[in-house]
């Protein structure tokens, strides 16, 4: 895993987009990286384009300017590959942020949505009610129990180590009736409701990739029951969370990412959205010839 050193910040000239500059520069300075300001569309000022976009003088040594023309999302994604950007800082809504907030369909501008869905790099998303509170002191990593979201913990531990943050891990077991309704019966996190020990297994799962020092950043495990978004909001308030690191599947369409959408509407700290890395195939060639059941490992890695 690479440390995040190339930070992309798309700016459109609006104050809303500019809100991300503070934390982008703060992270770049701590991580020894650079901020790549991407200006898409509209003619850039020929002289001092960064100042024209509102970048204060003191930040200039860490910031590079890139101009592109075309569809903003496409250009941001192209710049991600071209410039080797490994973190994109983005406002949930750009210039059009004055739209009605309570409507879940409008919490995210179409550019932001396309970028978070398609980018390979994690996205630091500034929610609607974002308030800059630097430096951050603590990270919250909610875990759902799905193996696909392990990546978020690995990234959180690494960031915590380099940015000197403490890490809280939270798992919210949904209320019982809600569980019963789940389709297809894939209660992949069922085991994790039972005992905090299971949370350690998450840590164990990422631990070969994380150093002891990184793992020592974990300050607390929270096991909660109830409405996932509400419980997480409670933890964010109690722990004064500076950064929320969320593993997700990458689809923001209707019916998906409900908790994430609620959080984007309600929290004031940034959300680092980390997509699950593709799972590597894994096999241990042992077990009986006749039955997979007697050898649970030969079927591991499939559903769930």
């Amino acid at each position: 895993m690479k440390i995040l050193s190339g930070i992309g910040l798309p700016l459109d000239g609006s104050n809303v987009a500019l809100r991300g500059l503070g934390c982008a520069v703060w992270m770049a300075s701590r991580l020894g990286g650079r901020v790549h300001v991407l200006h898409v569309g509209g003619p850039a000022a020929i002289a001092n384009p960064l100042q024209a976009l509102g970048v204060p003088e003191r930040f200039l040594p860490l910031v590079d300017f890139h101009q592109a023309n075309g569809d903003p999302a496409t250009e941001i994604l192209a710049a991600e590959r071209r410039l080797g950007i490994d973190l994109i800082v983005l406002s949930a809504r750009g210039a059009s942020s004055e739209a009605e907030r309570s409507d879940p369909l409008t919490i995210m501008g179409h550019v932001a949505r396309e970028v978070i869905e398609k980018s390979a790099a994690p996205v630091l998303l500034l929610p609607l009610a974002y308030r800059e509170a630097l430096p951050w002191h603590s990270v919250l990593v909610p875990i759902s129990g799905e193996a696909g979201t392990d990546e978020s913990l690995a990234v959180a531990l690494q960031l915590a180590q380099t940015l000197d943050l403490t890490v809280t891990i939270a798992h919210v077991a949904a209320a019982k009736e809600e569980l019963g309704k789940k389709i297809l019966g894939f209660l992949s996190d069922q085991a994790h409701h039972e005992y905090p020990h299971m949370l350690n297994e998450y840590v164990a799962r990422v631990s070969p990739m994380a150093s002891i020092k990184e793992r020592e950043r974990i300050e607390d495990f929270c096991l909660l029951h109830g409405d996932i978004a509400l419980e997480l909001l409670g933890v964010i308030e109690r722990k004064r969370t500076g950064l929320l690191v969320v593993g997700w599947h990458g689809q923001f369409v209707a019916g998906h990412a409900r908790v994430l959408k609620t959080l984007i509407q309600q929290v004031s700290c940034p959300l680092l959205l980390v997509k699950a890395a593709p799972r590597q195939p894994f096999r241990l060639k042992v077990g009986e010839e006749t039955s997979d059941l007697e050898n649970p490992i030969s079927t591991s890695g499939s559903a769930g």
Partner: protein, 994 residues
Amino acid sequence: MPPAAAKLSFRAVVFDMDGVVTRTADLHAAAWKELFDDYLRARADRGAGMFEPFDAKGDYLAYVDGKPRQEGARSFLAARGITLPDGSPDDPPDAETIYALARRKDELFERRLQRRGVAVFDSTTALIHVLRSRAVATAVVTSSRHGREVLQSAHVTALFDVILDGTDAARLELKGKPDPDIFLAAAEHLKLAPRQCIVIEDAAAGVMAGRHGGFGLVIGVDRGGNRQALMRSGADIVVADLGEVDVDALDRRFRNRTSASPREPEDAWRVEQEGFDPAREHEMESLFTVGNGYLGVRGSLDMPLPGSQADLFVAGIYDRKQPALPYSELEFLTARRDEYAYAERVPLPFPYRLRVSVGGRTLDLVEGPWRELRRVLDLRHGGLQLFYLFEDKQGRRTAIETWRCASLAEPHLLLQEVTVTCENHDALVEIDTSLHDPDLADHDPHLRALVPESADDVELRAYATQASGYTVALASRARLSGESRDRVYVQAQGKAGVALRLRRCVAIHTNRHDADPIAAARARAQGFSWDAFDRARAAHEACWAEVWRSADVTIGGSVATTQALRFNAYHLRIAANRDPRTSIGARTLSGRAYEGHVFWDVEIFMLPYFVRTFPDIARSLLLYRYYTLDGARSRALSLGYRGACYAWESTVTGADATPRQIILKTSHKKIPIYTGHEQVHVTADIAFAVIRYFEATGDAAFMTEAGAEILFETARFWASRCVRKDDRYHIEAVTGPDEYHHTVNDNAYTNWMARFNLEHAGRMQRWLARQAPEIWKALRSKLAIADEEPALWAAVAEALYLPQANASGVIEQFEGYFELRDYVVPASERFHPPLRRLFESEKINGMQLIKQADVLMLPLLFPERFTREVLAANYRYYEPRTDHASSLSPAVHATLAARLGLPEQAQDYWRRGLWLDLSNTMGNGALGIHAASMAGAWQTLVYGLLGIHVGDDGPVVDREAGRRLPARWQSVELSLYHHGKRYPLRWTAGEEER
């Protein structure tokens, strides 16, 4: 195609139609969109909810893609919180039912199909042509009722041997995907088994169907944004287009996938892991440990990850407890115990550590990108091979192959060979063999690095433990092939396709055996001649050939069972030493669990194995108890008793190393541990093992020199530990093998074992006085045994209360057990480590729930003392109340079930024990393998399933064995030692012979 196209292993490919062969998905999506948008808008107009249009991409993929129409409609509406009645197929198109909506969608689709026609994916038809030219059959399936029409309209029907569409599915009453019915029907029409076929699908539900159907390989086709879902649903490979598929590469994947279970005889000599799963890496490190009993090195990657548990353990090297290290589970911590300098076995730095870079880029799994990783344990020769293939974004491939062993011929010596090949490019290759670990304090907190004087060409590292006064020295030499001097760091110009080979030897010495371990390690490394590398390897492998002569068990008819038995035998051998000052920790030299402590596991579970395979190792293990007698004596004294009371958990001196409490890492809750004070049965277990060893070997020298003293001192302990009440002796305030119940009186197992101990001490005293009067005299004087003492042992044994079978034939586990709240364990609560149980220990203490065989240990160890009826009654009573939270439990139940003529239960329990580590049944393999379970599985095979009886003429297989063995076994071959002679034994199905 290669010039002479090889025959392919798979026989057929079953294609999904929409999205794989034909481009109808957009027609379908558009039809669905029109249908749902009309419907949802009409609902919104009626005031039933807000209008939120159907997303032709997201909703289509998530809810309807690949499913039959009705299911698609139901699933999408459910996601919007809408439930409609199913209705019937005859509903008019405007009815508000599932059937009507589905029908309307069908009409909309048909209209579009006629208007626009169907396109096909040219890459797919090209693949089909190649497959057919190589004698692979093809089939196409679809849930669409229009399947045939669509294929005809696309002019591709001739490309398929079998076509099944929605009409066929309805006729054959096949369930929709993710049920595998339609794929299975296709395979059946092709007259092939599913495992001979490949499924190609673009929908998650279809991939799942292929997986559930047991198809040999499932390929997902991701036409955009669906890769994760396809992988999660179980696709072996996901491609963006079938143009990426090369038939020969596919064949390799197919063979790999279908050969997951070992099949060929040679597979039974190796355990192979392919790919990488961070969640299981620590467990793999345990399984792939190499060692020789003197030391063990976990099977970590040569280029360790930041969090690798890359430990070296040297038997007998312990130090003060470090509170950050786990106890038996990752979750369990124990506090410092500064009063004891040997509380915890010391993890030492990884001796095979490498850093490899090619063209300035570090090659390891963190940096990547890598394409292949394989780890192969060569059981026959006791070596571990690793194969890594890295490929960067420019397509430059570099292969690294390594081999390592811990010499069985020369226990202080490790060998390693590394081959680096730039497959298709030229680049500077750098290999750094330095053993320096910059994070020593984190990885190995017991150690303080010493700075030994450097020696030419030899890298010397030495470490001192914090409190126990041990020094461990490592001396490493490495040489690149073709060079004339050794270097710690080598660099060479890598040429495409040319392998660079480096060899390394590492010598390890400690001040346990050498006054100056640094000098000893240096001398051994310097004395090593590179010319002798192959000879050193051959000597090591010759020792392994010797091991297998004694330890091999082969099962005719089951390669996988042979493989598992050999894997277990391998681990038992590398755990064991001929150093009488050390014994085997519960998780051997393969992991950190239990702080490296030695338990009753050795005497009751492992010793019966070693006695019959490596009697000299069995002797050495018992001598460890002889050399720790002083510790046991001090312990008895400190507890207010006489003689020797062995520690429940023992390390160097024999003092008790059991923690007094466990601290849960997440909640910081403290749980008291009673076993250290109370699990006194270990003292009698050791005496029992001394007797059984003597019976099996006739080793009178051992008995006179060491065994008798153990027996006398332990008998003395019991004579003082038993309490006289009325006219009987009782043993109070103990914990039996079942650790869920502490501070109980008259635990049946403890009392039986104590009586055995007392009786046999008396017998052995008479034997010794007769056989070797001088030695008896000397011993009597050394131990100050009063004349009346042996009579006292006999008297206590005679009057010791032994719980007897009640009217139903059941022996009460301890006084008052039957009055506890009854509890029968549901299947879901079995075979887990005792996490929750410990959490609720006081509640459990009041229930009949037990952790492992307790009373049932008695018929296991004393089969001749219990009638079949009593055995059956106790098995029936206790088995349902046991949750097997101990890995020691399955083997006991398996053996008894075999004796009772319950072959299915016996085999089931036996498999659990046999594959306990290879399937990570307990979920805690990361902290080391479970040696007692391995030896227990061997005991079940020998004494339970085969029913081997050892008489004066040696071992004999029971004539009825065939009734208890799995039906597909054709033969079993093994050998057992008895009184110094090795007896080869063979059972063959159908002929009952020895």
